[in-house]
């Protein structure tokens, strides 16, 4: 009887459905869990934390944001009452030496949320938590106590304007002068290499050099003037920390301060606006403090640009190769072997491609280019070192199998009758290929490209040795001729995650940044894919009546 029942169950195939469905559900759950984790950890990062004052007795106080709470592990005495401890971000690295502090809960005598506690964001040393004491203009006190906070808020916009102006002068204008001076220097060097050391050409160049030098001197003067305007300073008080009693004082130049907030005093709307400002800073600003603060704009830019260059390189390469394999090559053992090889190429570890990129692109092609085109720069390499072009080329090699396979599949799916229809109208094979086959295979090409982009955007290992750096001084695209600087090193979100999360001096403080950056990377890949899928579906709609599926 029992056997009979089992037999029916097996015959019906229901267990198999449960099994397959279960597998799908498990995978979906894992993916959803991962995305949820990244979302929560990543998006929560910017929300302002309340500042709590923990009284530890004996006059010892800690002011900071509560980050985590956990049970104190107590393996020796399991039946002992469960104790908890909390992790507090106390900031003030310059005073205490570390940002985070574990406190056992039974040490805490009392907690309160002081309304006038401020959170200071500054150029260096991470957050400062404390109380505003006094604002001074030079040596002259301007505001103290309760007015000081308002005064700081009033002064900050002007301070920021001056800081930005100095920064733009130091970076852009000085950069520009450096750039042109360097150009002149190289021209002189080239002339020297050609044996010309005197004459009108040299004189003209020397003169140009002098004029740039004069501009540089003017500029330094201007910067000094601006710096002279930065006279304000703000002093704060903060508890002396968990180890000492009393208070400590800290004075900073106003120019050092980015923003001052009273998180315990913020209304919901203010919190939201704080949040949005932080998010905007994250995507639009340059990184600070070895990438743990500020934004990731250069990394976003580098990632997107690298993927774009890679797409531009990989599409023609892969499509042409696939066309040759499927349309022109004589189908036989040779072609089959090539096809298998191409398929296997997709499984080669990416670092291998990176090594190839270094060996072939950088050391061979790059060094060759330098010798041929930029001899005056040597021994400083131009293309003979990692750069966005070589990184993109390496990634194109990595992803070209994907494009080839997708295109080939598309070509194979085009019925021979379609080609015959074109040939029968008097088209040559080439005309047929270009006018009928290529448009028909376009959706497949784009599918391949989508896969290639997704792979390329997430790839880090080969990039680390072919051109990605922790901090790039300039973007690979800017206002100086030739505008696109393919030889430059660049920043990349994937590498940024690794760098911030595991290489930075202050891993604890940077950890939320890892999630945020991951979220951003995911978002960018999704955006790139949506763009490509959108184009592909439009093409599909154009070509077929069948409703396009993703």
């Amino acid at each position: 009887m029992k056997r009979h029942w089992k037999h029916i169950l097996l015959r019906s195939g229901d267990p198999f459905i449960w099994l397959t469905g279960g597998a799908l559900a498990a995978s979906l759950l894992l993916v959803i869990g991962m995305i949820a984790l990244i979302f929560v950890s990543g998006l929560g990062f910017f929300w302002p934390h309340a500042l709590t004052k923990f009284d530890l007795g004996d006059g010892k106080q800690v002011l900071g944001a509560l980050m985590e709470r956990e049970e104190v592990p107590n393996p020796d005495n399991p039946e002992h009452a469960v104790r908890h401890r909390i992790k507090v971000k106390q900031g003030n690295r310059d005073l205490y030496g570390m940002d985070f502090l574990w406190i056992d809960e039974d040490q805490i005598k009392s907690r309160e949320l002081p309304g006038d506690a401020v959170q200071v964001e500054r150029m260096e040393w991470g957050h400062f938590y404390g109380y505003v004491k006094e604002v001074k203009d030079g040596d002259k006190p301007v505001a103290t106590g309760a007015e000081a906070f308002a005064k700081v808020q009033a002064l900050l916009p002007e301070a920021e304007r001056i800081r930005e102006e100095i920064r733009s002068l130091e970076r852009d204008s000085v950069g520009e002068i450096n750039y042109y001076q360097n150009q002149v220097r190289l021209k002189l060097k080239k002339l020297h290499m050609d044996g010309v050391d005197t004459g009108p050409e040299v004189d003209a160049l020397t003169k140009e050099m002098d004029s740039w030098q004069q501009k540089y001197i003017d500029l330094t003067k201007r910067i000094a003037e601006l710096k002279a305007k930065q006279t304000y300073s703000v002093s704060f008080t903060a508890p002396a920390g968990a180890l000492a009693s009393g208070e400590r004082e800290k004075t900073m130049a106003l120019a050092e301060i980015l923003r001052v907030d009273k998180p315990n005093h913020m209304s919901f709307v203010e919190k939201c606006s704080y949040y949005l400002a932080k998010v905007w800073e994250f995507v639009a600003a340059d990184p600070r403090e070895s990438n743990t603060e500020g934004g990731v704009f250069p990394a976003i830019f580098g990632t997107v640009m690298m993927v774009m260059i890679m797409s531009v390189l990989v599409t023609p390469l892969g499509v042409l190769a696939a066309f040759y394999l499927r349309e022109y090559a004589k189908q036989g053992t040779m072609v089959s072997i090539v096809r298998i090889a191409v398929n296997n190429l997709a499984g080669v570890p990416s670092i291998v491609f990176g090594v190839f990129g270094v060996g072939f692109f950088i050391y061979f092609m790059g060094a060759g280019t330098d010798k041929a085109l930029f001899p005056e720069m040597l021994p400083t390499p131009t293309f003979g070192t990692g750069g966005i072009l070589w990184a993109s080329l390496t990634l194109s090699l990595l992803t070209v199998p994907v494009v080839i396979v997708a295109t080939e599949e598309g070509l194979a799916a085009i019925p021979p009758s379609m080609r015959e229809g074109s040939l029968a109208l008097g088209a040559t094979k080439f005309e047929t290929t270009v006018r009928v086959v290529l448009p028909a295979v376009m959706p497949s090409i784009l599918t391949g490209l989508i896969l290639a982009m997704a792979r390329a955007a997430g790839e880090v290992a080969p990039l680390m040795i072919t051109g990605v750096v922790k901090l790039a001084p300039s973007l690979p695209l800017d206002g100086y001729f030739p505008y696109v600087h393919l030889e430059r090193k660049f920043m990349h979100l994937g590498f940024h995650i690794y760098d911030v999360g595991f290489q930075s001096p202050n891993v604890d403080a940077a950890r939320p940044m890892v999630f945020t950056t991951t979220l951003l990377l995911l978002g960018i890949i999704v955006l790139l894919n949506i763009g490509a899928i959108f184009i592909r579906n439009r093409l599909r709609k154009k070509f077929s009546a069948a409703t396009a599926a993703i």
């Binding site: 015959e420 029968a424 109208l425 070509f543 077929s544 009546a545």
Partner: protein, 297 residues
């Protein structure tokens, strides 16, 4: 193969059924249709040969798919090709626009002339030939483009870029294929959105757009429902005013409805070729009779 003299006479004053058949070396008559059969046709105009096939052998590698086939297709007539599956109808048809060139290992011997010109002459431009000899396939094969672009495809290949000219050609071709009324409001929609019958008429329009002289149709209705089939058949009858049509069909009724002449093939041999009425009413070969009465095939 065929002597130029005989062809010349054939072309000037040959009437279908051809009479000068005894001249060929093999004794196979290029036109086997008997004079007396044709005599029934009161308004029998002199037939002008369009496609002349003489002693054609065709090999797919070692396999001989056509065996010494000789026949002449008259101009502006519909000639049907019937015969059991695998007898070589498509193979013969695809010789006329040299689609067999695409098949590896395919070899053609003998002579095929269209309008007096040997189409296997090495000096001949195959694409020119194909512009002159249109083809409609068994399954409709529109390009994945708009209706307009499908029809403009051939003219564009010939270098016509002028939008007004193309518009005019598209309209004329669609009208010629009896599709204008159904398609005129959706010219920019995908051709794949049309029904099967419409697609097949679109393919006919596409072939007609390059103004060929000969139209080859390989079972053009086999994928269509009876109503669409009827429309295509009507169209074929209309088209023969202007084109020489050679149509392969498995449907005896269709052959008798649309064609003027019918050729029956069997295992690569041309068995019988005469005007359709006679072939279906009084076949002279036993095998033809067996086939059309459904005893085999």
């Amino acid at each position: 193969m065929s002597s130029p003299a005989s062809t010349d006479t054939d072309r000037t004053d040959l009437e279908v059924p051809g009479r000068s058949t005894e001249k060929t070396a093999t004794g196979h008559s290029p036109m086997r249709i008997a004079v007396q059969d044709k005599a029934q046709d009161a308004d029998a105009a002199p037939e002008v040969p369009m496609v002349e096939v003489q002693n054609v052998d065709l090999y797919y590698g070692q396999k001989k798919a056509l065996k010494n086939v000789s026949l002449v297709y008259p101009q502006k007539r519909v000639t049907a090709m019937i015969g059991p599956s695998g007898c070589g109808k498509s193979t013969l048809l695809r010789c006329f626009n040299r689609m067999n060139d695409l098949v590896e290992g395919c070899r053609v011997e003998g002579s095929i002339k269209i309008n007096g010109r040997d189409i296997y002459d090495p000096a001949l431009d195959v694409t020119e030939l194909r512009k002159n000899v249109g083809m409609v396939f068994q399954k409709p094969n529109p390009f994945p483009k708009s209706i307009f672009e499908n029809i403009a495809y051939g003219p564009r290949l010939q270098g016509i870029k002028d939008k007004a000219r193309l518009d005019e050609i598209v309209e004329r071709s669609l009208k010629g294929a009896a599709l204008w009324e159904e398609a005129k409001d959706r010219l920019n929609e995908s051709a794949l959105a049309l029904s099967g019958g419409q697609q097949q008429r679109l393919c006919i329009a596409r072939a007609v757009a390059v103004e060929p002289e000969v139209l080859l149709m390989d079972e053009p209705c086999s994928a269509l429902d009876p109503i669409s089939t009827g429309k295509v058949e009507d169209l074929i009858v209309e088209l023969k005013e202007r084109y020489t049509i050679i149509i392969v069909t498995h449907n005896m009724q269709q052959a008798s409805r649309v064609s003027d002449y019918t050729a029956f093939m069997l295992l690569g041999d041309l068995i019988e070729y005469r005007d359709t009425t006679t072939l279906f009413s009084r076949p002279s070969d036993k095998r033809t009779e067996d086939y059309i009465t459904g005893r085999f095939g």
